[in-house]
């Protein structure tokens, strides 16, 4: 079943492996054992250690989310800061007990859309945006251990890339992606299915598979 293939948690993005040593020395290590939802609930209560743990824990995946779209590290840094400012302003709208990632990514998408809109107004940056949206990086050969994720996803339409990133980088479920993108689970499944079809063709051309069709049912 395709749902199982595309819907499962893909990596350990939700776990605390990304939390740097820098933070551990300054804040309570108790935070390391907490889920993001618990940290968020404590952040709502004004706990700075929980806020800091959340920032350290979730910023890498958010930064990657922005970097993939804009290509520039400076833009990704700005968007990351802006996202945390908005999260801070809107932190009371998170309902304890609800999954955190759909709430967080809904805000991050909103920041990204706003940034697109502002960028489009500035003609000087149009060329830069075009460069960022084109499939720039070349694929490594099949002998490589794994292709670069963004290079692999670059030929996909933005909506499909976004869904795959949320499923595979953020490790969100189909329902969570649907919530974050204000769409239905069916629509997310369809996008993931189409993305997998394209990726299959791409990977076969690259020599990653034997070319057996099907698999997405």
């Amino acid at each position: 079943m395709r749902t199982a293939a595309v819907g499962g948690t893909a990596n350990g993005a939700r776990h605390s492996a990304d939390i740097g040593d820098n933070w551990v020395s300054r804040y309570s290590p108790m935070c390391l054992d907490n889920h993001p939802e618990q940290l968020m609930a404590r952040y709502q209560q004004g706990d700075l250690a929980a806020a800091s743990a959340l920032i350290q824990h979730l910023s890498p995946q958010l930064h990657r989310f922005f970097l993939a779209d804009f290509g520039s590290r400076g833009d990704a840094d700005d968007l990351l800061q802006e996202t945390w400012m908005r999260i801070h302003e809107a932190r009371h709208t998170y309902r304890p007990g609800e999954p955190l990632l759909p709430w967080l990514y809904a805000i991050a998408r909103h920041i990204r859309v706003d940034h697109y809109r502002r960028a489009q107004r500035r003609t000087a940056r149009e060329a830069q945006l075009d460069d960022a949206s084109s499939p720039a990086p070349a694929f490594p050969g099949p002998s490589a251990a794994a292709p670069d994720l963004e290079a692999l996803l670059a030929p996909l339409p933005e909506s499909q890339r976004e869904v795959i990133r949320m499923l595979k980088i953020a490790g969100m479920s189909l329902d969570e992606v649907a919530r974050a993108t204000s769409s239905s689970v069916g629509s997310v499944k369809q996008k993931a299915h189409r993305a997998y079809e394209r990726l299959r063709e791409r990977l076969i051309v690259m020599g990653f598979g034997k070319g057996s069709p099907g698999g997405v049912s």
């Binding site: 990596n11 970097l67 800061q81 009371h92 595979k168």
Partner: protein, 236 residues
């Protein structure tokens, strides 16, 4: 190549560590810490939706009571039984959508545009089925009067809804504005159905129904304008 293989390749590719400048994260933490205090989470969505429904019902009833309930008195039992429950269902659905648009990461049952279309189509269907007087006496004059009265009642409804949902955060302000406008328009339409005794089908189908899309469009335009004024919030 099977999905599992693609999954494994994506998983492997995603495992590449991604580091963010620690100084940037420290700056973000320091900035948030400066204004960090406890906040009260939003009440459950059903409470907000119930509040919005009550606001709409109160404004429709108060407006009709002030102008007169002649429309309600003239309606037959069947017309009452079909029109007001249909309006109540639409207001309930619109209130739910409106609240969800103000809470990031909420499940979206119906898109606000689809909600508006569904409301207009169902209203047209109800009016077409129940009213068969096709006269168009003083069509424009009476129609404009009803449209203006409906919109004038949609304005306080919209303000009350905005006040009720002021702590929400719309990730798509235009969609949220459209949903709020639709809900406010339904409140205005509710007032018209209670008050207006002109049962000519063209009058109801055009001028009464028009309150909803006009209010929705005004809500979306206003939200779009407000969004264009909003500055960037980057720290540096």
């Amino acid at each position: 190549m099977k999905d599992k293989e693609i999954d494994d390749i994506l998983k492997k590719a995603a495992e590449t560590p991604h580091r963010v400048d620690p100084a940037l994260l420290d700056r973000v933490t320091a900035s948030l810490g400066a204004s960090l205090g406890p906040v009260r989470p939003l009440p459950p969505p059903w409470i907000l939706a119930t509040g919005a429904i009550l606001v709409c019902a109160a404004i429709a009833l108060a407006g009709a009571a002030r102008l007169g309930l002649s429309g309600f008195r003239e309606l037959s039992g069947l017309q009452r039984v079909l029109i007001f429950p249909a309006l109540a269902i639409q207001i309930g659905l619109a209130a739910t959508v409106c609240v969800r648009e103000r809470i990031p990461g909420s499940r979206r049952a119906v898109a606000p545009g689809l909600l508006l279309a569904a409301c207009c189509v169902s209203l047209l269907a109800v009016f077409a089925v129940l009213f068969h007087d096709y006269a168009t006496e003083r069509f424009v004059h009476q129609g404009v009067t009803c449209l203006v009265a409906g919109l004038l009642h949609a304005v306080p409804a919209a303000l009350a809804i905005a006040l009720l949902l002021r702590r929400g955060f719309a990730v798509n302000p235009v969609a949220a504005g459209l949903a709020a406008g639709t809900l406010a328009g339904l409140a205005g339409l509710g007032m018209l159905e209670l008050h207006c005794a002109n049962f000519e089908a063209p009058h109801l189908m055009l001028w009464h129904t028009a309150v909803v899309p006009v209010a929705a469009a005004a809500g979306a335009l206003l939200a779009s304008f407000v969004r264009s004024l909003r500055p960037s919030r980057a720290l540096l």
